[in-house]
Amino acid sequence: MIIGIDVGGTHADGVLLDNGVVKRKKKVAVEARPLEDTLIALLDTLLPDERSRLKKIQLSTTLCTNALLTGDLARVGMFIEAGPGMNPSFLQCGDYVHYLNGSIDHRGIEQKAPDLSQLNEIMEEWHAEGVDSVGIVTKFSHRNSRHEKIVGEKALDIFSHISLGHQLSGLPNFPRRVYTTWLNSSLKKVFSQFKKGIETGLKKHDISCPIFLLKADGGTMPFAAAGVSPCQTIHSGPSASVMGCLALHDNGADDIILLDIGGTTTDIALFSEGIPLLEPYGVTIGGRPTLIRALYTRSVPIGGDSTISRHADGYTIGPRKAGTAMGFGGSTPTPTDAMITLGYMEDGDATAARRGMQMLDDSCSAEETAEKILKVFCERIHDTVTTMVDTLFSRPVFTVADLLEREKLEPNKLMVIGGPALALKEMLGQTFSLPCTVPDDFEVANAIGAARARQTVQLSLYCDTELNRLSIPELSIEEAPGRNFGLDDARTRLIEAVEDIASKQAINAPYTIDIVEKFESSIVRGFNSTGKILSLKAQLRPGLVEE
């Protein structure tokens, strides 16, 4: 049995699953008290009678997202080494920033050691001013993490929390690495309090099964790992709904468009051959681009409760919330009123809803107006999906083979969840010219998604045999592989590292390891081949746990 809990903006949903079947479900309001109290109370109502059958608990949490929204972030000190390149002065990481003057180049070769003589003084000063969490980032640290580590060691005795850029992601993109590290550092304290609270609560209830947290990439991670990189829990809401839909409607290898239509927003996700698509680098949080691996989703600011305004060319829906639909006692017309008018919704006062349509345009029938409005609604979503598919297709590729072989995603199914899902099913199907389904039980889709999401891990390996260096940044592994190390050896080494994590985190087989990127280039100096550069990425494939 698994318990899955999804925390949203106003409510938290929980389910108890037994072999994929919902045994219990419960919804509670999220109150102002500490989130951990709400969660423990909710958990209490979901616990199975036979405690020993509970295998694990999986949570999505808005803790970090809320901390960001409310600005409840710790004071962070940042050590940044930019080296040659863009002027780093644009980086905004608060008031405690020290630029290191060293540099590491694109191959991971140290070009200049940073001057560390002032470091201790700066650290002590910051600490005295209340900084207890620091982030350390250098350019190209995914190639060579030495400078981050040296500074990190010096910080060890002074600060409680240290985040090193290379451990948070093996991907390139220095500004994103800086912002990811800054975010992570600023969340460590609030997260460790949350973790303590949950652990105390669990102890009280005598629960000893492992706890996992949902990440933004549609997967989970163990609670302990989340303590190291709490930033991974940001933006995990879409993961819960996306994985929930996958669970409710197993389409196998379809290319699916998933729509989650809410009160004022519609979230869109895409699946290719049944696997959710990811952002190339990571999610953007409050304007800050990051390397936090995340599902490729877009949000359109329209929903059942959006405002409707009429102008010469037709109607505009959203982006603001109009309030309750007139069919449910409100005073301004909404898309929900259009749905009621057309008989797509059983609930609601049809006379009031029709009056809303008449208010918008009294020169034609309420049905005609309602039709026009929902058409605009569906078209708007359709346009965003088209842009998403185009953007996906135009992601940069760098090899002849990739350029010639790339194919545009051609979705063959539409899945819709959320309040207005059933009402809009037919019209959306027509707009997209695709079969459209609304899964049963979708009101607990998110909690089911949280319960059944698999653990995910992504690791990168970079090897330069001329320099006799191999690194797996996320694990801080640096080795001397030998001059004859080849692509197959690299693949084996990387899979070994993934399997090692799997066994340490007690991930049950069967899991699938994908090599998601593979690159090899000869190093030629003076007309002689002097080595190879190998670069690979592997992941534990995101998916659903079968109990």
Partner: protein
């Protein structure tokens, strides 16, 4: 809303295509690894997240795109690989981004390069088979009706291919700044090479002594390039942005820097840049390319410094200063006297030019005779005879700006010529945009 990334003052498109899976041969300078570190640097900088910088994938050029410019022997299909169609298509994508106003400027960071490929192509010359910027120029003319275009070639090697292609076109200004041909491949690019009989002054060569540094390039830009551009008034400026003038380049002897390239780009303000050579793949290209991109985008380049860069290391001595000054004066003199030089061709019906073209990559020679048919109303049309590797070509080329009478003469000439075995007989008609072969 608060912004967390710097933005481009001038929106800039980037076609970054390292073609990691293509090389001339594994240890040739034009190899898979060539743009690896450049790509790594540009991606690590986070350029993809800079508002106003847009990445575009290349498209594939068509045979017509290529044959609008080149006479390929035996054929484009037989000589070009997919990589050539892609690198050419990369320049076309970069051009389209600007012409369709998706961005204000663009830069095709693609390989293989092209500026040694001439009007006739029998194989690979100086790592080039297809002249990627020339194909782009004629694509722009064909699709967007632009007439006056300037190409400024800042590669360390003379852009002999581009010069050859536009030698008799008065609407294309070709300026090449390069290491003196007496000291470097391909050996041409002397000041006196100043254009064909209908286009005297539309080719400007500024050979520079080995060791030329930032100050020297500044002088050339200020004294020659900018004034000549000002006089020519191009509708579009293209930069063949080779980066082998860099002090670390292994196959040249210049002393230029990333800061220098950034400054040159800021001054030139090209609409489209196309990467050409540059073989210091670790020490130069990541920094010079970044410097050019940021300059195009109107962004801060003050931190784009090679590891260990010290401006004091790049002072030019007197001898070099004087030599550059002489070169500038001579080039300017040639340009100023262009009308005088043109006088001697007045009244002539045709001018014959004979050329031996050496293909260094596999080592063979092509003998070529080019006949410029002159016309008082336009630049005339061209007839070509070339042979090499036991293959023969007889070509007629109608430029985009030919008058109706010259167009007809060329078409008649092609129609009347009897097809002989073993000779490729081709009509390249840029006005009707077709390539005909018997």
């Amino acid at each position: 809303m608060k912004t967390y990334m710097p933005s481009a003052d001038v929106s800039t498109g980037l076609v970054l295509f390292p073609a990691f899976d293509w090389c001339i041969s594994p240890s040739h300078p034009e190899r898979e690894e060539r743009l690896l570190y450049t790509k790594d640097q540009l991606i690590e900088e986070g350029l993809e997240d800079v508002p106003g910088i847009h990445f575009f994938n290349p498209e594939l050029a068509t045979d017509l795109d290529v044959e609008r410019v080149h006479f390929c022997v035996p054929s484009a299909r037989k000589l070009l690989t997919n990589s050539h169609y892609i690198s050419t298509g990369g320049t076309i994508r970069a051009a389209r981004a600007v012409m369709e106003k998706e961005v204000e400027r663009s830069f095709a960071v693609v390989r293989p390069p092209g500026h040694h490929a001439m009007q006739t192509v029998f194989g690979d010359r100086g790592f080039c088979i297809v002249n990627i910027e020339s194909v782009m120029v004629e694509y722009i003319r064909r699709h967007y009706g632009i007439r006056k275009i300037a190409i400024v070639d800042t590669d360390c090697h003379h852009g002999d291919g581009t010069q050859d292609i536009f030698y008799n076109d008065p609407d294309t200004l070709f300026i090449s700044i390069h290491q003196d041909g007496r000291t470097l491949y391909p050996g041409t690019g002397h000041v006196y090479e100043n254009g064909g009989p209908s286009a005297i002054g539309a080719t400007v060569n500024i050979p520079l002594p080995p060791g030329t540094s930032e100050k020297g390039f500044d002088m050339v830009m200020e004294r020659v390039v900018m004034p000549v551009l000002e006089e020519f008034q191009p509708e579009l400026i293209i930069n063949s942005a080779g980066q082998d003038n860099h002090y670390t380049d292994p196959i040249t002897n210049m002393n230029f820097t990333a800061q220098g390239y950034a400054r040159l780009t800021r001054q030139l303000k090209p609409d489209i840049c196309v990467l050409e050579g540059g073989y210091s793949i670790e020490g130069a290209l990541p920094y010079t390319n970044l410097g050019i991109v940021l300059s195009l985008a109107g962004m801060d380049t003050s931190h784009v410094l090679e590891p260990g860069y010290d401006p004091e290391d790049f002072r030019q001595n007197h001898r070099i200063n004087n030599s550059i000054e002489t070169s500038c004066n001579e080039a300017l003199e040639m340009y100023r006297k262009r009308h005088q030089f043109a006088e001697k061709f007045k009244g002539q019906e045709n001018v014959v030019e004979r050329k031996q073209i050496f293909y260094d990559t596999t080592g063979f020679q092509v003998n070529q005779t080019r006949v410029y048919h002159l016309c008082p109303r336009c630049a005339g049309y061209t007839q070509l005879l070339a042979e090499g590797l036991d293959q023969h070509l007889h070509g007629f080329s109608i430029p985009f700006n030919a008058c109706p009478s010259c167009q007809q003469k060329a078409r008649d000439g092609f129609a009347k010529t009897k097809k002989e075995r073993g000779i490729r007989l081709v009509l390249q008609d840029r006005v009707r945009d077709l390539v005909d072969e018997k």
